[in-house]
């Protein structure tokens, strides 16, 4: 088991290293002066020269790579001209808002998705099942940016019950309760937008897992022993059906990043996703590169954590791997 975990940890680290080398190579392959691409378009000529010296861009390529890697290893992702602060700090300031949005969306889509999946599986191949499947497939196909615009149109402009965007009302009192309430109010539409795609995935996976588990011999045995259906469902079927969702949840985090960019942009939510779009508009190359490396590292860390959780809760893997 430890050997397997070490292998996974090694893979995660390799991903980060390769992403870093990749962004280094891409910056050098791209048309234009690498020093400019590492300083940002708003940089003054003097600052570009400073960056050239700092990263040794007049030296041979392998030395440049060594300098780049050691700079990054010390936690220095570069300096953002537009924000006048180190890239890492700019990203970390935006991170809590993104975690709030992503966390709420995962919880919501997981809860509703599992319930819908169970409903569909219990009445498999009935009209209810077909209906749920169709709705879910439509949800699976809606682009986040369009759904966001539609929600704004309907629930913020025609029926103005939710704010158009932002995270908090301006000029609100210092009262923490009022602040949380305002944030929650702003959170509703972005969360629905981001949840939709994942809700669809969870529903489909739960349904597939349930139907597979229901056909297993241990369910037959449990039935033969006279255990009531609801208990079989809770203790035997659900446990096995929900297991794969953990892995998928982690894999989908990588996909979710795209959805986060759109959702945050549409609702002007002050997170890492809208930061990326702003950085692109300002041609703040160090910030764009920094966000690319940062999100890749975050996603591969999440994958590793998911593996850990899987190892902890599924005894079969623990035993199989250690034997």
């Amino acid at each position: 088991m430890w050997a397997e975990l070490a292998k996974r940890a090694f893979t995660s680290l390799a991903v980060v290293l390769i992403v870093v080398i990749m962004s280094f190579s891409l910056i050098h392959l791209a048309p234009g002066d690498p020093a400019m691409l590492m300083a940002g378009e708003a940089a003054s000529p003097e600052y570009v020269e400073t960056v050239r010296k700092q990263y040794g861009l007049d030296k041979p390529v392998y030395e440049q790579l060594a300098i780049y890697l050691s700079t990054l290893a010390s936690g220095n992702l570069g300096y953002s001209i537009t924000y006048g602060r180190p890239v890492l700090i700019v990203i970390l300031e935006r991170l809590p808002q993104t975690i709030l949005l992503v966390g709420t969306s995962i919880l919501l889509s997981f809860a509703i998705g599992v319930i819908l999946g169970i409903l569909a599986a219990k009445k498999a191949y009935s009209y209810l099942d077909v209906f749920i499947n169709t709705v879910v497939l439509i949800m699976f196909s809606i682009p986040a940016f369009w759904l966001g615009l539609m929600l704004i149109l309907v629930f913020a402009l025609y029926i103005p019950i939710f704010p158009v965007g932002g995270m908090i009302d301006i000029g609100i009192s210092e009262d923490p309760f009022a602040i949380s309430l305002s944030v929650l109010h702003h959170l509703v539409l972005p969360t629905i937008t981001l949840s939709t795609f994942f809700l669809a995935t969870y529903t489909r996976l739960t349904r597939a897992g349930m139907i597979e588990a229901l056909g297993m011999n241990y369910v037959l045995l449990a039935r033969a022993k006279g255990i009531p259906n609801s208990r079989i469902l809770r203790h035997h079927v659900l446990k096995n059906a929900l297991l794969p969702l953990i892995t998928v949840l982690a894999i989908q985090l990588g996909l979710m990043v795209g959805g986060v960019v759109f959702t945050e942009t549409v609702f002007s939510w002050p997170g890492v996703g809208s930061l990326l779009v702003q950085a692109v508009y300002y041609r703040d190359y160090p910030l764009v590169t920094g966000i690319f490396i940062f999100t890749s590292a975050a996603v591969s860390l999440a994958n590793f954590v998911a593996d850990l959780v899987y190892f902890m809760i599924d005894p079969r893997i623990r035993i199989k791997v250690s034997v």
């Binding site: 196909s141 369009w146 795209g258 759109f262 190359y285």
Partner: protein, 282 residues
């Protein structure tokens, strides 16, 4: 083989999961092919009508704030979307085969190395990588197409590899080998034709992904300024959303939704036909 493919074709046609998407997708297909004959105006031309006019008989889907005809834009957007998604997916399939075939065929070290590389690419957030590449290399439509193709192959490579691994152990392949067929012949006439069909659902999903990314990049106003795109119409409309311009949002969005939705049904339908046992649980 002939009889089998005929029967397969008939099966495909009798499956409602294949017919329904074709029917709902056909307007978009027709728009993409015959755009010149359908669209009344040039998609990039502004001032062909009053700004922000709701749908009327002259402007079927209304106009944007510059007085561009949204109907013409949606029609030409279909062509862009189809061009980008088809070419980029063809590229992704090609790379997927180039990586997956040797991995599955040679096994051992080659497999180990190629699959580690694939895993690394799988765990990079693809949309951020695409934006990063677009920022560095520019965003004209050909660059964007190549970028989407370069990012989309890992899943396809994994499926090809798995398929080839399992096929090379099957009796009919062993039989051909025993009859003295060369490895190349075995590969091209026995194994490869049998990997294509199981790849189709994944290809459909990749097409959908490409449609989404193409319109998404344009929605962020990072796309080619000389080409009309559904995403670009949505971007324009999002800037006049406070004026209640629903027509600029509903029509291009529905076009994207229909395209991705029919690709998803098709993907489901084909996997049901290929793999009736496991697909039943979906």
């Amino acid at each position: 083989m002939m009889i089998r493919s005929k029967r397969l074709f008939r099966n495909l046609l009798s499956e409602r999961y294949v017919i329904v998407p074709f029917i709902i997708y056909s307007p978009i297909l027709i728009a993409a092919i015959f755009a010149e004959y359908i669209a009344p105006y040039h998609p990039l031309e502004t001032g062909v009508g009053p700004p922000l006019s709701p749908p009327t008989l002259n402007y079927l889907m209304g106009t944007d704030q510059l007085g561009g005809d949204i109907f013409s834009q949606v029609v030409y957007g279909a062509r862009t979307s189809m061009f980008v998604s088809f070419i980029s997916t063809a590229m992704a399939v090609m790379i997927g085969l180039l990586v997956g075939v040797p991995a599955g065929y040679f096994k051992g070290l080659v497999d180990e190395v190629l699959m580690r590389v694939t895993d690394v690419f799988l765990s990079i957030p693809s949309f951020i990588l695409i934006i990063f590449l677009v920022v560095l290399f520019g965003s004209d439509i050909y660059t964007l197409t190549i970028v989407i193709g370069l990012v989309g192959w890992p899943t396809l490579a994994r499926i090809v590899r798995a398929q080839i691994l399992s096929l090379s152990e099957r009796e009919f392949v062993l039989a051909v080998r025993a009859l003295g067929a060369s490895p190349l012949r075995t590969m091209f006439s026995e194994i490869l034709p049998n990997t294509i069909l199981p790849l189709i659902p994944a290809i459909m999903l990749q097409l959908g992904f490409a449609v989404l990314v193409e319109s998404g990049v344009n929605f962020l106003a990072l796309g080619d300024q000389n080409v009309m795109s559904w995403g670009r119409i949505l971007w324009m409309a999002s800037r006049s959303i406070y004026a209640g311009v629903w027509w600029g949002i509903i029509f291009p969005g529905t076009a994207i939704l229909i395209t991705i939705f029919s690709l998803n049904i098709l993907s489901d339908g084909v996997s049901k036909i290929i793999n009736p046992k496991t697909a039943r649980s979906w």
